[in-house]
């Protein structure tokens, strides 16, 4: 006899089965979304397909930094830590600063704490580090090899002043561009084609150009004031991410070299492209090949807002990117700055300040720097920490811990959208709290090397493909 099935019971059973299956499906969706290669924003360029944020909706007429006083241009010789380190070389405490150039004396008179940090403290740290690196540190073999390889390819730096270097060779008459808006569109498309994840265009504010060049490189004479060349009318900002998984394993395992290298390549390609159209162009690229400050130009170009840690936060990559700039005179329509609520979020968040092992990031309010209000960053403390740990060069921990630096999956996109659309600011408080509870870091002291009381810790575990032990036999030749 054919078994009889009650129709209503059948529907209930199907419903219950469907609910269980749908729940299981959501579990698998979640685990795959967490690992999805497509969430590694920018790691394949997708021809600009990653620059998806609707900036027009959040554009504002004024940048989110505040102009509060008389502005002045930065003196790169002392205000850029890499240049300052060169300026104070050979310092002897007993002799004092008397033999150093006036600008060095003036800087350290105004910043006495930096003198101690840049000399005595740094020497002590370097001595400890020299001892420490004598011991074998096998755990970094793969990450160092990877970092070094990532930095192995890059175009030659700029070696002549703007009036010589920036212009196309020969008597190229610039092609007549039809319309600045179209040119902007073209430049953006081409930048993405060259490998950039992000691109924005700003009218260049001369306040961001150095008053004195860093170390007299790039064709500038040391200690001679720099004029802002007339043909530096626009700044095109490009940016690419650092590999996501190692970036979360900072400070010791991450590297900037991958993004530095690609960012430089993109900027030099873009420079060549613009010169081929007959216009002037000059790349300003990482590590330290700059004639200007990058973060405020990124803000002007609408790519993001400057955070408490001084790095620009973008909606797509958070602060996980390395930018380059091309200054040019090809006529373009600049982008507008955006306001995505970073200024308010940073007021409550402070995760970077709490995690920063060196105490370089301010816990306090913004201060006036050269006529603009922003959070202060103690670059001497920051750079001293770079030598207080082992592994790859640099730190980048503030990049890794910032809640905006998240891969692009539904969860983090949803959090960003809640923060963007909540006018009360309550969600910012909740999200900042969630960041601390759900994504905690280490005790800051643990990030130091053992001889400085730490464990050489990383924010997140090293990715499997950088685990030396799993691939290299490091046991003493038995």
């Amino acid at each position: 006899m054919k078994p009889k099935v009650n129709r209503r019971n059948f529907l209930k059973a199907v419903g219950a089965g469907s609910a269980v299956t749908a729940s299981a499906g959501l579990w698998f969706f979640g685990t795959q979304a967490g690992q999805d290669p497509a969430s590694y924003t920018g790691m394949t360029n997708r021809e600009g397909g990653f620059q998806t944020f609707n900036r027009r909706k959040w554009s504002v007429s004024k940048p989110t930094y505040e102009k509060v006083g008389e502005t002045s241009r930065p003196d790169a010789r002392t205000e850029v830590i890499f240049a300052r380190m060169g300026q104070i070389r050979g310092y002897d405490k007993a002799k004092g600063l008397g033999e150093f150039p006036q600008h060095v004396q003036d800087y350290y008179k105004a910043h006495p704490e930096d003198l101690e940090l840049d000399t005595t403290v740094r020497q002590e740290i370097h001595a400890k580090r020299s001892e420490e690196i004598k011991k074998p540190h096998d755990e970094f073999i793969l990450s160092k090899a990877w970092s070094s390889a990532m930095g192995a390819v890059g175009p030659r730096g700029v070696n002549a002043p703007p009036e010589k270097w920036d212009f196309p060779r020969g008597s190229n008459t610039p092609y007549k561009m039809k319309d600045p808006k179209r040119t902007s569109r073209l430049i953006k498309k081409i930048s993405h084609q060259f490998g950039s994840t992000l691109v924005g265009i700003a009218k260049l504010n001369p306040d961001w150009v150095y008053k004195y060049p860093m170390n007299g490189g790039r064709g500038f004479k040391a200690n001679e004031p720099m004029e802002v060349p007339e043909h530096w009318q626009y700044a095109i900002v490009v940016g690419v991410p650092m590999s996501w998984d190692p970036m979360y394993a900072n400070p010791p395992y991450g590297t900037s070299n991958d993004a530095y290298s690609l960012s430089r390549i993109v900027a030099h390609r873009l420079t060549a492209f613009i010169k081929n159209l007959g216009y002037a162009a000059r790349p300003h690229t990482p590590g330290a090949d700059y004639d200007l400050m990058v973060p405020p130009i990124m803000v002007d170009a609408g790519l993001g807002e400057q955070g408490r840690h001084s790095i620009v936060i973008t909606p797509e990559l958070g602060c996980n990117f390395r930018p380059s700039i091309v200054t040019t005179n090809i006529p373009m329509a600049p982008d507008k700055p955006i306001d995505i609520g970073v200024q308010d979020f940073c007021k409550t968040c402070k995760v970077c300040a709490k995690q920063c092992p060196s105490g370089a990031i301010s816990h306090g309010e913004k201060v006036e720097i050269r006529g603009y209000k922003r959070y202060a960053l103690h670059s001497s403390k920051c750079s001293n920490f770079w030598s207080s740990k082992l592994g790859n060069m640099g730190c980048r921990l503030c990049v890794a811990v910032c809640p905006y630096t998240r891969k692009s999956n539904w969860l983090h996109q949803a959090a960003l959208n809640v923060s963007l659309h909540d006018p009360t600011g309550l969600s910012d408080i909740a999200l900042a709290k969630m960041q601390e509870v759900f994504y905690p870091g280490q005790e800051p002291q643990k990030y130091y090397m053992p001889s400085m009381g730490g464990e050489n810790a990383s924010y997140r575990p090293v990715p499997w493909w950088l685990k030396t032990d799993d691939f290299i036999d490091t046991a003493d030749g038995e």
Partner: protein
């Protein structure tokens, strides 16, 4: 793009949800519990919360963020259970006990 993050997955997920809703409807009818619009809204909200909780834990595990998976999982699961219990109590409003069937085809066979 993997299957579970593809459009095809969400298509199937939609069908499964629809079947679950039909099952719930039949079940509530059999329990002589009328379902009003506001009740469906509550059920929908609870389903969203449950879905969010499961997907949150899964995504955190996928990202290797075990602290988020554990802490978030506990917090959101507790909220989900409490909200579920409240919704269940509210669904009982208007239930007719021990009377005849609301549907005449209750014992229909297929």
């Amino acid at each position: 793009m993997w299957f579970f993050t593809s459009g095809a997955f969400w298509f199937i997920e939609g069908i499964l949800c629809a079947l679950a809703v039909i099952g719930l409807k039949v079940w509530m009818e059999d329990r002589n519990t009328p379902m009003r619009l506001w009740k469906w809204v509550l059920v929908g909200a609870w389903m969203l919360l449950l879905g969010f909780t499961i997907a949150f834990i899964g995504t955190s595990v996928g990202e290797n963020e075990m602290v988020a998976a554990k802490k978030g999982g506990i917090i959101f699961s507790v909220i989900c259970v409490i909200f579920g219990a409240v919704v269940w109590q509210l669904l009982q409003i208007g239930r007719v006990k021990n009377t005849g069937d609301l549907k005449t085809d209750k014992n229909e066979e297929v």
